[in-house]
């Protein structure tokens, strides 16, 4: 079994599915000969040809719009948006069409499309290359939003997303692309969507996070362990719709909840989870729910990006706060 990075796992998943299902096509800017600016589609055009791995004209509304056209007619497009900060021209297509076609046509048509986009900060990238905008899509009815946090989950969740009959916005944390390697079996086995993954079991505090922040969250949990505090770490993975059952079960056990995300605080997914937990499990809570998030500012250029993104220290502070009461 090969040890691969998260980005190699994505390539493996796409190659597997293209080999086994010729309705799958890949399209986007620089995905062909260049293999994508992050190399996620490296080698795919050589293997599957220009008809199936398509360099498009430079236009995001076009990329997602034609993917919808393809998807409704029997294809399964995987569209790559070069960075999530450039997805906005496609927002119209995602909100007004991808998320609605099934409902509008009373199920007559549907959109089995995946829109992949790198997201998040921490890689010293230029302006507009480091945004965390998953909440915008989570707020869009009719689309799933998935964010993997390890090579294995990247492989299994991307396969599931391609096979899902509905649109998936698949946001890939650039900071994790090459951070760690993991053994991933290239067996075409998907992981379930719409469910959280408990990465670490614990009894004192529940930590909920997703994407790249899983890294800081796990480090913080290790750190707390030294102090005798047992943290349960939950990776949301499908950030919309949210698997509340896993979270509520955990909170009932620990009585304390910290939600960690890199995206801005206001109207972020942390607020959503906190509201639902307060609604469903208020009397299980022994302390107010704490959020550790990015600030409500534009993602700063990279000299300040680490001041913006929650650090392990900030996560620890959040955990200590929830333990106070």
């Amino acid at each position: 079994m090969a040890k691969v990075t998260l980005i190699e796992a994505l390539t493996m998943a796409m190659a597997w599915e293209m080999k086994h299902d010729n309705s799958v096509v890949v399209l986007g800017e620089d995905v062909g000969v260049n293999g994508g600016v992050f190399r996620a589609t490296a080698g795919l055009q050589e293997q599957f040809g220009k008809d199936r791995v398509i360099d498009t004209p430079l236009a995001e509304a076009l990329i997602v719009g034609i993917s919808i056209g393809m998807a409704t007619q029997g294809l399964k497009p995987i569209a790559e948006i070069q960075f999530s900060g450039f997805i906005y021209p496609a927002f119209d297509q995602i909100t007004n069409h991808a998320g609605r076609i099934r409902t509008r046509t009373r199920g007559r048509m549907h959109v089995p499309m995946v829109v992949r986009a790198p997201s998040g900060g921490g890689i010293h990238a230029p302006e507009h290359h480091s945004e965390s905008n998953e909440a915008l899509f989570a707020h869009t009815p009719g689309v799933r939003v998935v964010m993997p946090s390890s090579p294995k989950r990247a492989y299994g969740l991307l396969l599931a997303s391609i096979r899902d009959p509905d649109p998936v916005i698949f946001l890939e944390p650039t900071r994790l692309y090459r951070m760690n390697k993991q053994e991933v079996e290239d067996n075409g086995e998907a992981l379930p969507l719409d469910t959280c993954f408990v990465l670490r079991e614990g009894t004192d505090v529940t930590l909920v996070s997703w994407g790249a922040m899983i890294h800081e969250t796990l480090l913080a949990a290790q750190e707390m362990e030294k102090e005798g505090v047992s943290c349960e770490v939950i990776d949301l993975a499908t950030v919309s719709p949210i698997d509340y059952e896993t979270i509520l079960d955990s909170v009932e056990k620990t009585g304390r909840l910290v939600i960690i995300h890199e995206a801005p605080k206001t109207a972020g997914l942390g607020a959503e989870i906190a509201a639902e937990v307060a609604d469903q499990a208020l009397f299980s809570l022994e302390a107010p729910i704490v959020r550790v998030t990015g600030y409500d500012t534009p993602m700063p250029l990279f000299k300040l990006e680490h001041d913006y993104m929650p650090s392990v220290a900030r996560v620890l502070k959040g955990i200590r706060r929830v333990l106070e009461d």
Binding site: D30, L62, K265, Y295, E305, A313
Partner: protein, 359 residues
Amino acid sequence: MKTVAKFEIKYLQYLDPDGKPVQKTLPKFAQDVNELVEMYKKMSFVRVFDAKAIALQRTGQLGTYASCLGHEAIHVGIGLAMIPEDVFCPMYREYGAQFERGVQPHEVLLFWGGDERGNNFSGPKHDFPWAVPIATQNHHATGAAFALKYQGKKAASVSVIGDGGTSQGDFYESLNCAGAWKLPTVFVIANNKWAISVPLEIQTACETLAQKAIAGGFEGIQVDGNDIIAMRDAMEKALDKARNGGGPTLIEALTYRLSDHTTADDARRYRKEEEVQENWAKEPLIRLRKYLESLGAWDDAKEEAWKAECAARVDEEVQKYKAAGKPPVESMFDHMFANMPEDLLKQREQAIEEAKHHG
């Protein structure tokens, strides 16, 4: 069937790649040899700066940087044709134009060095910062042109976009609007044949990008973008027309991206070295230098002396860039609103506190 419309696209060039004039008379500014020497020196400075910026990135002292190698004639030509009252809406590599407008080289380095202060550059306060989201600047130029016209100012806006950028809806929408409203604006397409790894044939089936102006209802011309005389002349004429109520012009400037797309790119993956070498023979500096040498206005000694002067000036700028240090953490918040909301103020305090502890 009868023909109801036809169009043609003109091509402008004064100096061929060997530095030989291809037209009987040069524009007035180009009849002054001292002026031509100045133009050469400006392009040469940009190239020295560009090489230094790449070297800084390669040694870990700068973030990803978008080189302008090969685009010097387009950029300096634009800068020289504009007046301070005009509004400039760049994409991300037009340093040669911006230096003419007062932007300081260290400010360019700040931007690519991950520091927002680079966007608050010197020069006209109404000029837009770099626009990384492709083609968005075309709309700003169109709106700015409306404002200039509305306010009765004798000025115009100028936007620059790449060949790849012409595939975006924003590009067509702004052409359409500027044409319909006869706005004082000049759209420049810096056609360097590549959009990262995507060649022009994948963007369009059109023979020229200049003809995109036809759909906007105004004139589009093609210019040798490696010929600074042609570039400046075309810009001056288009700006003059715009400032005097003649409406927009589209200028497709033909050049070639001699560098990687940015320092994060490796162009060897997708294009042939021969193609790059062929284009080195057409690049903008050599042809003007040859012409100046033929006039006895430039020689190796002058070249060497000027290069040394450029290097010294660039070094000073690099020092300024390095001396800037890290911006204060609160600067993330301080420029968001004229009146800062209460909760943001709290977050600002928190960020300052965090920075103190974990710096």
